[in-house]
């Protein structure tokens, strides 16, 4: 099946968007660093369950996420801790804490698995949100491909800032030399414990927003209908509504 053809779209969709989304769907279906293809596609499905999950809605409205008990609306492929983490990332991310991640790590959801599930969940969500913004149906999920996770862990990792380990600011060398030049900002480092998660979001962000290189440009962009100020107005309003300090 050819994904993201946008044949049914009433609006012309730039070819680069369809291509980036197709490439990510292919990545999604394959084994990752810590999850199988089947588990990764199941994580994508949980993103969609999270949006309509009654328990998530009740928890989001509660004063504390721990003050309500219940069960998620979910599939049956993933462990409950993985399901809960995906639902939290999508529906109640601002109340995720270090102790939540540490407790998960002590009980079977490792830091590496957490980072990979965040990477999968947020990219699927950003593509689904693009569709929803245009009134398009969500793309059918890909068929999982067979194989085992690589369990690859980069060498130059530190646990100095944020909730999870990351590649050091000057540590994008060797196998990770393509991730960033010299030094970089925390937002790029955030998912670097699973380098392919970072590569995937850069690839999709390059089409949905801007490439890393283009971020130092502030005028018009060839092939884009929005200039930089218009992009930043949309970005700023979405971020502010989501109460994003970053």
């Amino acid at each position: 099946m050819q994904h993201f053809t946008y044949d049914d779209s009433p609006y012309p969709i730039r070819a680069g968007l369809g291509e980036a989304h197709r490439r990510f769907w292919d990545e999604l279906s394959k084994p990752g660093n810590w999850f199988t293809g089947k588990q990764r596609v199941a994580i994508a499905q949980e993103v969609r369950y999270a949006i309509i999950c009654p328990f998530c809605k009740e928890r989001k409205a509660a004063l504390s996420p721990y003050s309500v008990k219940g069960e998620h609306l979910c599939g049956d492929t993933l462990e409950p801790r993985v399901v809960d983490a995906v639902h939290r990332v999508i529906t109640d991310q601002s109340r995720i804490t270090q102790s939540y991640i540490d407790d998960n790590a002590a009980n079977g959801l490792s830091e590496e698995e957490y980072v990979e599930l965040v990477g999968v969940a947020v990219i699927v969500f950003s593509i689904d949100e693009f569709h929803r913004a245009l009134g398009l149906s969500p793309e059918p999920l890909p068929e999982p491909q067979a194989g085992e996770p690589s369990r690859y862990r980069p060498a130059q990792i530190e646990r100095e800032t944020g909730f999870v380990s990351m590649i050091t600011p000057d540590g994008a060398t060797g196998e990770e030399a393509d991730l960033w030049p010299d030094r970089t900002a925390n937002v790029l480092r955030a998912l670097s414990l699973v380098p392919n998660a970072l590569r995937a979001w850069i690839m999709v962000a390059t089409e949905q927003y801007l490439s890393i290189r283009a971020m130092t440009q502030f005028g018009d962009f060839e092939g884009r209908a929005l200039n930089r100020m218009q992009m930043e107005l949309v970005a700023g309003r979405v971020s502010s509504y989501n109460e994003c300090f970053y």
Binding site: P10, I13, R14, L17, R88, I90, Q93, S94, R95, I96, T97, V118, V122, F125, S126, D128, E129, F130, R132, A133, L134, G135, T161, G162, F163, A185, N186, V187, A190, L191, W201, A205, E207, Q208, Y209, T216, Q217, F218, G219, R224, A225, L226, R228, M229, Q230, M231, E232, L233, V234, A235, G236, R237, V238, S239, S240, Y241, N242, C244, F245, Y246
Partner: protein
Amino acid sequence: MLSLSAEITESDVNLKMINGDENATPGDVAHAGALMKFAEAVASRDEEQLASARSALLEAAGAEVLVDAAAVAGNFQRMVRIADSTGIPLDERNAVLSHKIKSELDLGRFATAQHTPPAGLKRRLKSLIAKPMAVRMFRKLQQ
């Protein structure tokens, strides 16, 4: 980045639009009001509001603008979740550059502001010097 973009391109921008102020003047940002409402409708997940904002942006600016605005909105629905799920603080360099605007927009009220150490005298002083320097540097890069 909106503030920086405006300074670098010497454009007039009303930053109150970031907080959804409907009375904010659009300045030099084309279709500012329609873009602001569309972005807010995507983030709010109010489907009725979204349908209305989508139609208004389409009518005002055309299909290509609508598609690119949807792409950027989807992108930033992701970025907030990466930042919050990993608890990353704002890098000191970015904190210095954005100190004034974060104060003006009162972004310290957000719960996730606690991930970044509060601004001390040093950051406030550095922000007075660093922002104009950054604007000059980026202007040179555009040439």
